[in-house]
């Protein structure tokens, strides 16, 4: 009997099965796709964290231990793929004589670097000028000494005669912080900044250089074994962190105290763990509303056929079917819908995964694929049970045959409405949002070195409560408007339907329950699309801002250390085809007290023509525009980092004396500035402390207008091509970088998440849900009214009369859904961006609005309403008799 029943359903009422199955499929596909995103994102973060590390382990050889033995122990580990022994020696300072003047620096470090080191650890040393081997001077030291390849640099050693070397090349040490870490010291005891002055010697020269120092002052020389370990690690950053940490501890145990591991790889994975937790939160924030919406859609589709199902049950009962038999039939129908829905959903997710992430699997590993597919199927079956099986079971259990043959519609307010649950949810949502905001929206706490991560899922309650509360409030409002608005509605429809519009207004008012449901579903779908799209656009804008902060502009020309490019060179660059604007930026090093920091001299009136300055880059003193205006009006103004403000107890207006190198004498001179604001981020500036000042003032006081970098704006077009043209013009004398190349390499590991793939998946689902909410739900409502339209037609209604009904209903759903959806979408987008502040780097100063997507959403929603309305009108005059006689 069950088979016969299901075969009959598929043959006679395929849309009843397919419609509900599609709803289930959307939820399954969305969850499986987002699961795929999460797994993919975690794997991407792990890979990114691994790639970001130049030297995986820095194994410090203990005092008195044999470096060769430690090196042998490290090299012998199965997880170690290569290792080199590096010497470190603390020296008193460096000096060099150039252009008739002698410059001297403070204390520094000399490294002994073995052959093949740069090849094994390519990320540790970057050649800027001259040779990549031999005696290499760090960029900042070269700037301090005005040294270049060929310059003789003298090293002062404690209690020993100085030693002189000829510089072969100038290098950058991108990971100086980790290279000069205090191995084994807790985070709080680490040096606040790497040494300002560094010289790298080949191993042979280093050995002869360090031998007398090690003999006299063994405390000033030490040895590290740098190792590259296997990167075959678990895809999850947390698991990879555990694996790497375990291996490092194993090495320390095996060395019996002779070795202490500076585990750079674990440190990178440690940071990625927090980002992975954020990715999980993103999944919950952005994915669950869509899945819940798909579930509501399924319930609505199922409810559309509930009346027919009840009649069938009534007929079967009249013909002697037992309650058990009816339950079996209902269960088999639900199982069929669940199976079809899950199958289609997993198939769609597989296809989406292949398109969006380049992988047809639901996760980075087979285990995660099975896990996510299983979870998505469970969610799909839960929706099937909740939306189809339970209502049908309730009908079987509670309805009598007589009741099933009636169509009693009660307009009693639902329980949540009578008790004000909607208002309470909305108010609680705002309270939770406020409470979470007090904590600075710190959703993820991943204490450094501690395996456990704390995720504040409580913060989820704010958007969840706002989402649910606002949806119910919109339900209440639309219901209220339709209940009391039959006359205004009739007047609005009068131009189409004449005097029949009054009756149509009354009809819509009495049919408000399904219309309100459709309007609320459309509200939720539009809100989902708007909030998701806005969040994603803001995320993308901030990732772009991050790339621009790192690179400085679309294309950046960075002058070699020691070069003295004139600002007038900007005019030459401006003539290159594709260049929209060029802005010279000075780059100096300035001492504040004993602390050496970068200083950027800018032209405050024109800097924004070549690069974007967001208000969020500045924390005190005003907006970006206001602070640039201040720099222009008062040239001795200076913007300072928050850390410097704190360290030196500065208040706005304070005088700061910086020591800068005079371009004429090459000697340090004191230049007075006045502190006017706090800068957190600035194009090309490092993450730590730096200054921003007026370039004219700096040039005037130091006698040099030498430019450190030229920021080039291309208008965002043909960046790579313009960069190539610029390279041809500037030649080898300067480094040319473009934002396209930088995009893929900057930012936190969370930025490495393939957000483009996630965006494609989510926004596609948002459009599908909006189309289904507008078209499908309204269409189902119209289908339910088809008999009424046929009766009207049989009574002599013309097309305009039928249009009044269709336009009235579509208008109510469309207008209420659009207004509610936009309001709720904007609210949720703001809440999401606030609550997920930790995801953004830098934090956004304003929300990015994806107008093109929103336009497409509006067009699609309107098109669905129009198509369904036109289709309803078209079929309203077909098969009148068949429709009228259907009962």
């Amino acid at each position: 009997m069950t088979r016969l029943w299901l075969a009959g359903l598929l043959r006679r009422q395929p849309m009843r099965i397919v419609g509900a199955a599609i709803g289930v499929a959307v939820a399954v596909a969305l969850l499986a796709s987002l699961g795929a995103f999460l797994a993919h994102a975690k794997a991407s973060m792990t890979a990114r964290a691994i790639d970001s590390v130049a030297v995986d382990w820095q194994v410090q050889v203990g005092s008195g231990a044999d470096p060769a033995a430690v090196a042998k122990l490290v090299a012998g580990l199965p997880s170690v793929q290569g290792s080199r022994t590096v010497g470190f020696a603390d020296v008193s300072g460096f000096s060099a004589s150039t252009a008739g003047t002698t410059q001297t620096t403070g204390a520094g470090v000399v490294l002994g670097v073995p052959d093949g080191y740069a090849a094994l650890f390519p990320g540790e040393i970057r050649t800027l000028a001259g040779s990549g081997s031999g005696v290499l001077l760090a960029q900042q030291t070269a700037a301090n000494l005005h040294a270049a390849p060929g310059t003789k640099v003298t090293i002062s050693k404690a209690g020993l005669p100085p030693t002189t070397f000829t510089v072969d090349g100038v290098v950058d040490l991108p990971q100086a912080n980790s290279l000069f870490q205090k191995v084994g010291a807790p985070p709080g005891a680490q040096p606040s900044a790497p040494p300002d002055n560094v010289l790298l010697l080949p191993s042979r020269q280093y050995r002869s250089f360090v031998a007398p120092l090690a003999k006299n002052r063994p405390d000033l020389a030490y040895t590290q074994v740098h190792a590259k370990v296997t990167h075959a690690l678990p895809a999850d950053p947390a698991a990879a962190y555990t694996a790497v940490t375990g291996a490092a501890h194993n090495l320390e145990a095996a060395s019996t105290g002779a070795a202490t591991v500076g585990d750079n790889l674990a440190a990178a994975l440690d940071a990625a763990r927090g980002d992975a937790a954020y990715a999980q939160i993103l999944f919950l924030f952005l994915g669950l509303p869509g899945a819940v919406l798909a579930g509501l859609l399924t319930a609505t589709v199922s409810a559309a056929s509930a009346e027919r199902r009840r009649r069938e049950q009534a007929l079967l009962r009249v013909r002697g079917s037992s309650q058990r038999q009816l339950l079996r039939l209902v269960g088999s129908e639900a199982a069929l819908i669940g199976a079809i829905g899950c199958g289609i959903g997993l198939g769609a997710a597989t296809a989406l995964g292949a398109i969006a992430f380049g992988s047809p699997s639901f996760g980075a590993t087979a285990r995660s694929a099975v896990l996510w597919a299983g979870l998505a199927v469970i969610a799909g079956l839960t929706i099937t049970v909740a939306a189809i099986l339970l209502p049908a079971r309730r009908d079987v259990k509670e309805h009598t045959v007589a009741a099933d043959m009636e169509q009693v519609v009660t307009h009693r307010s639902p329980g949540w409405s009578r008790y004000g649950i909607d208002i309470a949810a909305l108010a609680t949502g705002f309270v939770v949002f406020w409470a979470v905001g007090r904590g600075g929206y710190q959703l993820v706490l991943a204490p450094e070195g501690v395996p456990a991560i704390s995720v504040s899922y409580w913060a989820l309650a704010a958007p969840a409560l706002l989402w649910a509360g606002a949806a119910l409030v919109i339900w209440r409002l639309v219901d209220l408007l339709l209940r009391h608005g039959r006359r205004p509605l009739g007047r609005l429809l009068h131009p189409i339907g004449g005097d029949t519009a009054t009756l149509v207004g009354s009809s819509i008012s009495r049919l408000r329950r399904p219309l309100v449901r459709a309007a609320v579903l459309l509200t939720l779908a539009i809100a989902f699309a708007i909030s998701t799209a806005t969040f994603n656009a803001t995320y993308a804008a901030q990732a772009e801002a991050d790339a621009q902060l790192t690179n400085g502009a679309d294309v950046t020309v960075t002058e070699s250390p020691g070069s003295a490019a004139s600002p007038s060179y900007a005019r030459t660059l401006a003539t290159i085809p594709g260049v929209a604007a060029v802005e010279p930026v000075q780059h100096r090093f300035a001492y504040v007290g004993s602390d050496l920091q970068d200083l950027y001299g800018v032209n405050p009136t024109s800097i924004r023509s070549a690069t974007a300055l967001q208000d969020s880059y500045f924390q005190l003193g005003g907006t970006a525009a206001q602070l640039m205006h201040t720099l222009d009006l008062r040239p001795d103004s200076i913007l300072v980092s928050a850390e410097t403000v704190k360290d030196y107890q500065l208040t706005l207006g304070d005088l700061i004396n910086l020591r800068l190198v005079d371009g004429r004498t090459h000697q340090q001179i004191t230049v007075p500035f006045h502190y006017v604001g706090v800068v957190a981020e600035f194009p090309t500036a490092p993450k730590d402390s730096f200054f921003v000042a007026n370039a004219r003032y700096v040039a005037h006081r130091t006698g040099s207008d030498a430019v450190g970098a030229f920021l080039i704006d291309t208008g965002g077009h043909n960046v790579a091509t313009v960069a190539d043209r610029v390279r041809n013009v500037v030649g080898q004398g300067a480094a040319v970088t473009d934002i396209a190349a930088v995009r893929g390499t900057v930012g936190s590991s969370l930025t490495a998440v393939d957000l483009a793939g996630l965006t494609r998946v989510e926004l596609s689902f948002a459009l599908v849900l909006a189309a289904a909410s507008s078209g499908l739900v309204l269409g189902l409502g119209m289908a339910a009214r088809r008999r009424s339209l046929a009766i009207m037609r049989a009574l002599g209604a013309q097309r305009r009369h039928l249009s009044t009904v269709v336009v009235g209903e579509a208008g109510v759903v469309g207008v209420a859904g659009a207004i509610g959806g936009v309001a709720l979408g904007v609210l949720l987008a703001n809440v999401l961006v606030k609550v997920l502040t930790g995801v953004f780097d830098p934090p956004p100063s304003q929300i990015a609005v994806p107008w093109s997507y929103l336009g497409a959403l509006a067009i699609l929603t309107a098109a669905c309403l129009v198509v369904v309305s036109a289709g309803t009108l078209r079929v309203a005059t077909r098969n009148l008799l068949g429709v009228i006689r259907r009962f």
């Binding site: 009354s506 009809s507 009495r510 009424s788 009766i791 002599g796 209604a797 006689r885």
Partner: protein
């Protein structure tokens, strides 16, 4: 015998005076003038491979004040003939014309239709349902309201005016449909199995109301039914079998006297 031989007889001269109550502007039929004419009209359903003839070539004429029962078992073609007469279906052969009408038959004010199941719009009240065809015909709200109220009053349904159809019994709902027909003052009332879903007592009452309404409107009444007791109350009986209209059968006697008034208080609450 050819169906043309069974053209309606002029048996209702007594109703001629009622035609004067027709709404101004609505064309009224003259006694004896053909309202609906079928000339060799037939209807075939189904695909080309397996055609099913529902009604063979039929020729007949309906004139004002006719009281005709089209009788036959289920599937005999009586509903098909009725739908052709109402213009709800197009004949596949032959023609159906409405000589007394200036527009399509289902335009308001021409042909009133009563179906097997009540055809009320569930989201409109009883009064609004009755008012609807008048508004569709272009009457003002005031006129439609007045005529609907009069029709409901005539059928003693006014107390139900604010009820929704779902609150009515089957008999009450059919009576509202008849009131709606009456309010439109049609030239012909075509009823397709109007009592088949009702119990005997309710069916008799609905037929009383239907006949009364036809009298009030001065309209021809054609009822398709398989119920001989219903057919027995009509002046003519057109039996139909396997899609062929047979000879007119004599009506032995009315099985129940025609009601003299709408004083049917015992039906107020329906069945």
């Amino acid at each position: 015998m050819q169906p043309s031989d069974i053209a309606g007889t002029d048996a209702a001269g007594a109703h001629a005076h009622r035609l004067s109550t027709a709404t101004a502007g609505t064309p009224r039929a003259v006694l004896g003038q053909p309202l609906i004419s079928c000339a060799g009209a037939g209807r075939t359903f189904g695909a080309r491979g397996r055609p099913v003839v529902a009604l063979y070539d039929t020729t007949c004429t309906i004139v004002a004040d006719d009281r005709i029962a089209i009788t036959g078992p289920s599937g005999s073609g009586k509903s098909t003939l009725l739908h052709l007469l109402a213009g709800l279906e197009e004949p596949t052969v032959g023609t159906v014309t409405w000589p007394a009408l200036d527009r399509r038959p289902h335009d308001p004010g021409h042909v009133g239709l009563v179906f097997q199941a009540p055809t009320l719009i569930p989201s409109l009240t009883v009064a609004e349902n009755v008012r609807l065809p008048l508004l569709l015909a272009g009457h003002t709200t005031a006129t439609a309201t007045a005529r609907a109220a009069a029709a409901l009053d005539l059928l003693q349904l006014e107390p139900l005016g604010l009820d929704l159809p779902q609150q009515l019994s089957g008999g009450q709902a059919q009576r509202v449909v008849i009131a709606r027909v009456l309010a439109s003052q049609p030239l012909a009332i075509l009823a397709d199995e109007p009592t088949s879903q009702l119990d005997r007592a309710t069916a008799d009452h609905v037929m009383d109301v239907l006949l009364q309404a036809a009298d009030e409107a001065g309209a021809a009444l054609v009822v398709a039914t398989h119920d001989q007791s219903v057919a027995g109350r009509m002046a003519q009986n057109w039996p139909i079998s396997d899609g062929r209209l047979l000879a007119d059968e004599p009506v032995p006697s009315l099985t129940r006297p025609r009601p003299t008034a709408f004083g049917l208080d015992d039906w107020r609450t329906g069945s």
